[in-house]
């Protein structure tokens, strides 16, 4: 019964979405206030219905209702409760329902908090947002219905893929979707602005926080996925340039560009057309990502051709959304011209360069990801594009971006002098080059990766600090004055400093772990030990263990430094009988400067065990850097100007003295 109610709520939400798509748009066109006013309540109702539908599906998972096909295919009565709940979105249908739920949530948030938006803009934004929802409701209902019942329910389910039974991955999709779908807001605002023919600072002030929030969620979502891969897949890889990863990385890059260019629109009233274009592009990459992941077209062209319904459906949505928006853009962009003036050396120019590098880097990822598909369609050749290509073709753009970042982000708006702007940065530059040289001499030559990474990382972090010092007049005024100025700095500026520093930390981590990782592979029996990177690793034994829905071989290893046991770790090889699926649970001794990473392999014919050990320097800095970047986003989001909402002419409230 509950599944049917969920299905019914989904259909109702689809109907409400159609109304919300048509009525407010027409009302805004004709200037009919009562038609426009339908948008807000409709958005709330749409969200409530979708939330109910999602809740119904989750309920089916929680109570293990094996008359629902989706539950049978992805759940099992012995599965821990956490994974029964998260199993709701650990499959195609459920994850698309989550996608739409978040889409309607964003629409509802505009309805709830958008009271100071101009009426016409608000109606149009909600109408466009609802148009996207209509497409995806149709996709769910016609190709991916999660509520299909079975005539003969089995006794038990087929269980969730064991790789997904993990906290890191359980919450990876919701964050990723909050990011993907959050970009729909920027898209809806861009399309609405094109229809209205007006883009101003108030528009940018609305779009930027949404983009920033979406980018933050994407950052966290991508970092979670990477963190999961690091400990779960057994060889400590954290980024694979896999098509599915690239699908989330492309919107992240464009969102990063967009949230920078929106600053220019907001503060300097220029780059309007470009920002609108980026807003369309960002969500387009979200849709392309959804297409890549959901159609299976990249993993195998043949799988796609065998069951093309879903893929073709998303492709049509993609075509209408991107094609329609770009056509509208071509027709209407000219009305957005602005004539704000800035000189060649200015922060505006710096942000243009930031956008250029980010967008071209995105295109490189795009071509690399889709090249196997293009090549096969055009010439019939089967080619692969993997990490060696991306490392070579993508990295230079990030190096260039990191190299110009500190200088261009310290430049004043409108007109600047390079010499003056560099003055506070010379120290940071000298120290970064010195630390790069130090690293180079310590590792006695070798690959240039680590020294270059160090130079860039130190340059960015110290550059941010130098910027801060410059802003608070550190060393030029007394401490009290420094603190007063620091207190007066807008949160958005703190956000910028923190987010940029996070990127510096991330760059260092990537360079360090790539350049200095060490690996060891050997056969060990109980009592064996060996030296690695200044540590002694001793195998104490392997025993059988049993989990709620798996069996495991669990090794016990002591990690010693200078003869002292510093840690005991337990790597496992698990086997999930329901899915007939083995997984590797690496044991990681984490610390701030290195991870010791031990995995247990197969038992050999002579009774020993294959053991793989890694020393991964600064691995934790990967996640720390990502978290710092997101924190920068949070700081920026709490800026006073967003709390106050869009600028408006409003007389101060007269408060009677008490």
């Amino acid at each position: 019964m509950i599944a049917e109610l969920g299905h019914f709520a989904l259909i109702l939400a689809f109907v409400v979405a159609i109304i919300q798509m048509v009525v407010p748009m027409w009302g805004a066109h004709r200037g009919w206030a009562n038609w426009m006013q339908i948008a807000s309540p409709a958005a709330s109702v749409q969200f409530a219905l979708t939330a109910f539908s999602f809740g119904a599906l989750m309920w089916a998972f929680i109570v293990s209702d094996f008359s629902v096909q989706l539950v049978v295919a992805n759940s099992h009565s012995a599965k821990p409760m956490l994974y029964k709940v998260t199993g709701t979105w650990g499959n195609h249908e459920g994850s698309m329902l989550l996608w739409v739920l978040i889409l309607t949530l964003f629409g509802a948030m505009v309805a709830w908090w958008g009271s100071d938006l101009p009426q016409g803009l608000k109606a149009r934004v909600l109408s466009v947002q609802s148009a996207i929802a209509v497409a995806f409701f149709a996709f769910l209902l016609f190709t991916s219905n999660p509520f299909v019942r079975l005539e003969f329910p089995p006794i038990d389910g087929r269980d969730l893929n064991p790789l997904l039974q993990d906290p890191g991955l359980a919450f990876h999709p919701p964050f990723l979707y909050l990011g993907y779908v959050g970009l729909s807001m920027a898209f809806s605002f861009a399309v609405a602005a094109l229809i209205e023919g007006k883009v101003d600072a108030a528009w940018a002030r609305w779009v930027r926080p949404w983009t920033l929030a979406a980018w933050m969620f994407l950052t966290i979502g991508i970092a979670m996925g990477s963190w999961w891969a690091y400990y779960e897949l057994g060889w400590g890889g954290w980024w694979f340039w896999d098509p599915v990863e690239n699908a989330s990385f492309m919107p992240w890059l464009v969102a990063a560009a967009l949230l920078h260019s929106a600053i220019v629109v907001e503060k300097r009233d220029t780059l309007k057309t470009w920002t609108i274009f980026l807003a369309i592009l960002a969500f387009s990459f979200s849709l392309i990502g959804t297409f890549i992941v959901r159609s299976g077209v990249i993993t195998s062209v043949h799988a796609f051709a065998n069951d093309p319904t879903r893929g073709v459906f998303i492709l049509v949505i993609l075509g209408i959304a991107i094609g329609g928006a770009l056509t509208l853009f071509a027709a209407r962009a000219h009305v957005l011209k602005s004539d704000a003036v800035f000189s060649v050396v200015s922060r505006e120019s710096g942000l243009v360069m930031n956008n250029l590098l980010l967008v071209v880097a995105t295109l490189v990822v795009f071509f690399g990801t889709l090249w196997p598909l293009f090549a096969e369609l055009l010439t019939g050749r089967k080619v692969s594009v993997g990490p060696p290509f991306f490392d070579l073709a993508f990295t230079p753009f990030m190096v260039a971006l990191a190299a110009i970042l500190p200088l261009f982000s310290i430049l004043p708006w409108k007109r600047a002098q390079l010499g003056r702007a560099m003055r506070p940065l010379w120290g940071a530059l000298a120290l970064s080059v010195a630390s790069g040289a130090l690293v180079w001499s310590l590792q006695t030559g070798g690959r240039m990766l680590a020294p270059i990474g160090t130079v860039l990382a130190v340059w960015i972090v110290l550059g941010a600090l130098a910027d801060l010092g410059h802003r608070v007049k550190f060393g030029k005024a007394g401490l009290a004055e420094n603190l007063r100025r620091a207190g007066n700095l807008p949160r958005a500026d703190w956000g910028k400093l923190v987010a940029h520093s996070g990127m510096g930390v991330l760059i260092f981590a990537i360079a360090a772990i790539t350049a200095w990782e060490r690996e060891d592979l050997r056969v060990m029996t109980s009592g064996d030990s060996f030296e690695m990177g200044g540590y002694e690793i001793r195998m104490e034994g392997v025993e059988m263990a049993r989990g709620p829905n798996y069996q495991a071989e669990r090794g016990t290893f002591s990690l010693l430094k200078d003869g002292q046991v510093i840690s005991v770790v337990y790597p496992e090889k698990r086997f999930y009988p329901v899915q007939q699926f083995p997984t590797t649970e690496a044991a990681i001794d984490r610390s701030i400067t290195r991870d010791l990473y031990v995995t247990l392999g197969d038992q050999q014919e002579d009774g020993g065990w294959a053991v793989r050990t890694y020393v991964k320097p600064y691995a934790n800095w990967l996640w720390i850097g990502s978290i710092i970047m997101s924190l920068g986003g949070v700081l920026s989001l709490t800026d006073r100007r967003y709390r106050l909402g869009a600028p408006q002419r409003k007389l101060p409230d007269a408060v009677p003295a008490e």
């Binding site: 790789l163 060889w235 340039w241 896999d242 004539d339 050749r381 993997g386």
Partner: protein
Amino acid sequence: MRWGALVACLLIAGQVWAVQPDEVLSDPALEARARAISKELRCPICQSENIDESNAGVARDLRLVVRERLVAGDTDRQVVDFVVARYGEYVLFRPQFSLGNAVLWLAGPLFLLLGLVISVGFIRNRATPAKPQALSATEQERLAKLLEKD
């Protein structure tokens, strides 16, 4: 989300597990070269794993072939060519610099160049305040007439 791309391989995998101790060459220099080559070669039946990380049987066979060729004295290039001759360019994770792949390799540099030209043009344009528009032909005529009258 990445799991999707790995599940297939792990399903095929059974109990085999990336590089095995019995595959490792005794000469560390040769082994290091084998590892480097393995990271550039794709496991032909996997979704996006190199043969070094893959658990599939064919990946193990390829790892052994790479090591055999290296022990036989091949250069890195010869080893890769040997594998490509048998499995096609599909196994190359770094596509060849060839005419067929020109678009792929040149996309980045070309877009950068194009973008630079456009954005530098835009920035320079912004650096000079927009001039008032020149008078149109009819306006010129009217102006001339007005001037004549005086």
